[in-house]
């Protein structure tokens, strides 16, 4: 297309947002131009790895664009856009690098790198951030050795390559280059904290197996030329904890992320929210920047998801044309919120929700909309049970209207209290990943917002205020359960003295012989209690979330009698001696209860320490990661006749794919832990599931529903290797048929040859009456399924 002198709308950047805006302008017959710096559309997505699966998150929002888009391979997505862009006669001008932009609404002057220029009444900036990659900023970076992108890793062979960065891009590049090159990855910190779990597992495994080298806590200082045998190479100097070190290499690939091209934008007069390099520009609700007539959409505006960009492209054209269209999620939200008393429109309802639930008040409107899109508004009647103590659900509820009762019944005490509008509940299970610690009943008719675990976790991790509010509530309620005698007025005082602490797996909370002045209440994860006997550490107890450790030394004043170690990633609430004394003071019954537990533990300990073999078995099980499990398949090898009935039963009840491997997995002293799902408290597989297809059923089963897209993230994330990608197989020939006609040779063939592979894992036969098929089919009683608490009690009694 040629460049004319005057347009109503100039769109800069032909990524998903710009293309969608261009397509909608073309559709409406508005005079427009779409300027793209590179020769082809959508440079960023074009640079994705070949065949990469492009997601269409967030699934709850519909697409609003003249262009097609659904999840698929990079190629199919680009193909769809190219075809549609041509068909709609979008006025796309490639190779148009914008170098100058000035003027005001009605008369923006745009200059291109090749000298061409045009005038536009409105400008839509959809340039993303990938055009402005963060540079090394060190001496010698212009010598030609440093690059900031990697298009095709297969182009490089037998080179010494240094990859700088600790994010997903750096890890993916390093891993792709490692098979054919000598790769060193440089990480400024001492861990890969920003990486996705799957990438993290892969890079750590690669480092462990020496496929590549990693330099931690190092930062680049300078690059110098290093001539060696007539070949120009780079000498990269790194500042490491042990001093400066030189690396001679052929290539330096720095993947340091991207930032908005702030200088360029500020020169035009665009204001930013904060001084932070990653800050988004100040925008109105119709995406208009501080320069009237100049609109910003997409990643540059702070919305990195493709579908969001495309919707904004459509909407921005509508706004420029003066039409005030409702946000795309308006109808969906209205369907959820219309029953709220006094809400006449979505905005009313949002006001009401934000005004009632304090932790939502600090969020932006867009965040609240996203929060509610994922949530459900639930009405309950007086006396209706929301969830029961012991259920395995983990959503969070906010009370919008009415009153609900929280009822706790356990060995220690019974109690109940009431919550009204504005309060929330369910955070205990959300945080600990364990069963509900109380039963919640409607005291009056009530309206609740139920928010799924994933949405809540995301919000807690991204918003400091929300995290603080939830943490505080957790603390107060945990103390109330631990010491119910403490009066409401003293709870906050005690909570103020308690601190939250996190421990990685295998890290000690305290060691045998330490001075004991702290009590730990376990909030998530679990710990093991062990003691060194005859030079070996023998585990003799397992303490899950909701219980406490460390009371023995606090009461007796003696040093720690044993070592307590995190059996999984664990969060604890820590009470020092003062806080503990305050607690004892405020709740007169507490001392008695703790002393009773203390006596019981001493008794158990004596029994267990006499049985070293048992202790070794427990140590083995904990080392197998059983600490974070909620249900483990354990095989007694002295009973197992290796008939594989368990596997056949699993296959026979699950599309002819066995989800367990009986033979694989470690054994100790006739106790075998086969490769089979443990239904972890905080399932690793649930992280990064794009369609959110992995759930926990009320009885604790972690299962994958039909919305699985087969991306393989869960398979990669599971540290126990119990998830496989598979297609449903034909059912095996029946016994009678095989007796009469022999086995069907087509056994073990897919029932649908075109079916895509999906993730399959153990669902503990939750849909089959009678429980897990593997256990029910075991003829000798060798296979059983247990929770850690069950086998730790079974072994102590």
């Amino acid at each position: 297309m040629t460049l004319e002198s005057h347009y109503r709308i100039a769109i800069i950047g032909a990524g998903p947002g710009g293309l969608s805006a261009g397509a909608h302008a073309a559709e409406l017959g508005i005079s427009h131009v779409l300027l793209e710096a590179s020769p082809e559309i959508s440079k960023t997505i074009r640079q994705y790895q070949k065949g990469k699966h492009v997601m269409d998150e967030p699934a709850s929002i519909p697409l609003r664009s003249a262009l097609p888009f659904s999840s698929g391979t990079r190629e199919s997505v680009l193909d769809g856009w190219e075809t549609a862009t041509r068909a709609q006669s979008t006025n796309l001008v490639p190779d148009a690098v914008v170098t100058g932009l000035e003027g005001r609404q009605g008369e923006f002057h745009i200059t291109l790198g090749d000298g061409r220029s045009c005038v536009a009444e409105h400008v839509v900036l959809a340039i993303g951030v990938q055009g402005n990659l963060r540079k090394l900023g060190i001496e010698g970076e212009d010598l030609g050795f440093a690059q900031y992108q990697l298009d095709d890793p297969d182009e490089y062979f037998d080179e010494n390559i240094v990859v700088i960065g600790a994010g997903d891009a750096a890890i993916e590049n390093a891993l792709a280059l490692a098979p054919h090159n000598n790769v060193v990855i440089v990480n400024r910190r001492d861990e890969f904290a920003r990486a996705k779990q799957g990438n993290l597992n892969d890079i750590l495994r690669a480092i462990d197996s020496d496929e590549l080298e990693c330099v931690y806590s190092a930062s680049p200082v300078r690059i110098a030329r290093h001539d060696e045998g007539g070949r120009a190479r780079a000498a990269l100097t790194l500042d490491t904890p042990t001093g400066e070190t030189d690396f001679v290499c052929d290539r330096i690939i720095a993947r340091l992320g991207a930032t908005p091209p702030r200088q360029f934008l500020e020169a035009i007069g665009i204001a930013f929210q904060t001084e932070d390099a990653n800050a988004a520009p100040v925008l109105s609700s119709i995406y208009e920047s501080s320069v009237p007539g100049l609109f910003i959409i997409g990643a540059l505006a702070g919305y990195p998801l493709i579908k969001q960009c495309m919707n904004q492209g459509y909407e921005v054209i509508e706004y420029i044309e003066g039409r005030d269209i409702a946000p795309v999620d308006e109808d969906i939200l209205w369907a959820k919120l219309r029953h709220l008393d006094g809400a006449r429109c979505v905005d009313d309802a949002l006001d009401l929700v934000c005004g009632t639930v304090p932790f939502l008040a600090g969020l932006t409107r867009l965040q609240v909309r996203e929060f509610l899109l994922d949530s459900d508004v639930v009405k309950i009647d007086t006396g209706e049970v929301v969830f029961r103590q012991g259920d395995y659900t983990n959503s969070l509820y906010c009370v919008l209207d009415g009153r609900i009762g929280v009822e706790v019944g356990n060995l220690d005490h019974d109690g109940s209290n009431e919550l009204g509008a504005g309060s929330f509940f369910g955070e205990m299970s959300l945080l600990s990943g364990r069963r509900r610690s109380a039963t919640v009943v409607g005291r009056t008719d009530a309206v609740l917002i139920e928010t799924p675990r994933r949405t809540m976790t995301r919000l807690i991790n991204s918003d400091e205020t929300v995290r603080r509010v939830i943490d505080e509530a957790f603390l107060v309620r945990a103390i109330r359960q631990f010491a119910p005698g403490v009066e409401e007025t003293s709870l906050l005082e005690v909570a103020g003295r308690a601190a939250l602490e996190r421990f990685d797996v295998n890290v000690c909370l305290f060691e045998e012989g330490d001075e004991g002045d702290t009590l730990y209440l376990i909030r998530s994860g679990s710990v093991t209690v062990s003691r060194v006997l005859g030079g070996r550490e023998i585990t003799f107890a397992y303490v899950p979330a909701g219980h406490y450790v460390g009371e023995m030394s606090l009461l007796s004043g003696a040093p720690r009698s044993s070592t307590v170690r995190a059996a999984a990633r664990t969060e604890v609430i820590r009470f020092d001696r003062d806080a503990f004394t305050l607690l004892l003071d405020r709740d007169p019954g507490l001392r008695q209860r703790i002393e009773a537990t203390y006596r019981q533990r001493v008794g158990e300990e004596v029994g267990l320490l006499e049985n070293a073999r048992l202790g070794e078995q427990l140590t083995f099980l904990v080392n197998q990661g059983v600490g974070e499990a909620t249900d483990v398949l354990l095989i007694d090898e002295s009973l197992c006749i290796r008939c594989d009935q368990c596997e056949r039963a699993c296959a026979g009840t699950h599309g002819n794919n066995s989800r367990l491997n009986r033979e694989a997995g470690p054994s100790f002293d006739l106790l075998h832990v086969p490769t089979s799902c443990r239904h972890c408290e905080h399932p690793h597989c649930m992280k990064e599931c794009p369609p959110d297809a992995i759930h926990r059923a009320p009885n604790g089963e972690v299962f994958i529903d039909d919305t699985c897209i087969g991306c393989g993230n869960c398979e990669q994330n599971c540290p126990y290797g119990v998830i496989q990608m598979a297609v449903p197989q034909k059912p095996p020939t029946s016994l009678w048929r095989s007796l009469l006609f022999g086995r069907d040779e087509r056994d073990n063939t897919p029932s649908d040859p075109h079916a895509a592979k999906k993730a399959v894992k153990c669902d503990m036969c939750k849909d089959i009456e009678g429980g897990a098929a593997c256990v029910r089919a075991c003829p000798t009683g060798a296979a059983i399924r247990l929770s850690p608490e069950e086998f730790f009690t079974a072994t102590t009694v």
Binding site: D636, V775, A777, G781
Partner: protein, 292 residues
């Protein structure tokens, strides 16, 4: 560890108690019963025991079907096996009393004999089920069959690489060793002994009969003693230890195969005899009613 409960202990020997009660009741009835003629299948007690026996045999045979019904929620297979074992023993008592200790060369005694074979093989099965699993663990440790197979493969490669360096004669021996390594052996060999003929043995050259591993090692040791080359001596020593290592792997694998075969071997009597019994039993019943 009190986590697991075997099929014999199932629910505190619940089915043992039932089976024992049934057997005792049958014996008491038999003793108290004083028919006009000698005790036999034709008295009222004989018929009662006969009907009971047929019902029990039919139910016991149904176990083969139930254990393949993976979705069935009708009890656990462990419970079924526990009942199968104890009631299977009881059926022998019931059937024996049913015969009134009368035998002859006829279809009736054939059915009884088949029942005895089925129960006897079943007892063997129970004994094997209690013995073999522990032995398999002792043999295999953490390793799987696949692990051992790949370890053997790797050792073969390592031996060949070494032998290549040493010389043609040794290479031939190692090649023969690899050729002649036998895993498992024939069905018969697997059932009767765990060490198949010539496993780990070495054929000392083309056309020369198989020699034992000891012979092969002696060959290597002889070569070692005459060797004046330090590297060659070292290689020969390494090779001898590799042969020993492989021999151990092969022995382990064969022992596992043998134990696993034992766990199934008794079924080759138990199941066909059951099928035969299921044919003989109706014949027996029919014969009784035809010749009343």
């Amino acid at each position: 560890m009190s986590l697991h409960e075997s099929f014999l202990q199932y629910r505190e020997f619940f089915y043992l108690k039932i089976a024992a009660g049934l057997s005792v009741a049958a014996v008491v009835a038999y003793i108290c019963h004083d028919p006009v003629e000698a005790p036999n299948g034709g008295t009222w007690l004989g018929y009662t025991l006969g009907v009971l026996g047929v019902a029990m045999v039919a139910w016991l045979a149904w176990f083969g079907v139930r254990k393949r019904q993976y979705s069935s929620s009708l009890g656990s297979v462990q419970g079924w096996l526990s009942a199968h074992v104890y009631l299977g023993l009881a059926v022998l008592v019931v059937a024996t009393l049913h015969t009134g200790f009368q035998t002859g060369w006829n279809v009736h005694t054939l059915a009884y004999a088949l029942l005895v074979i089925v129960v006897a093989s079943g007892i063997v099965g129970v004994v094997l089920y209690r013995l073999c699993p522990r032995l398999i663990t002792d043999t295999m440790g953490d390793a799987t069959r696949r692990d051992l197979l790949s370890a053997i493969g790797e050792t073969n490669h390592a031996m060949l690489r070494l032998a290549d360096r040493i010389g043609g004669d040794v290479h031939d021996i190692i090649l023969a060793n690899i050729d002649r390594t036998r895993l498992g052996g024939s069905v018969f060999e697997r059932f009767v002994r765990f060490q198949p003929r010539s496993a780990g043995g070495i054929k000392s050259g083309a056309g020369v009969p198989t020699v034992s591993r000891e012979d092969a090692n002696r060959y290597l040791y002889d070569a070692m003693t005459v060797s004046t080359d330090a590297q060659r001596t070292q290689d020969l020593r390494a090779l001898a230890s590799l042969i020993g290592h492989k021999d151990q792997l092969v022995t382990r694998l064969n022992r596992e195969l043998w134990l696993r075969a034992l766990l199934e071997a008794w079924l080759f009597v138990h199941v066909p005899a059951t099928v035969a019994l299921l044919v003989a039993l109706p014949a027996h019943v029919l014969a009784v009613f035809l010749y009343w």
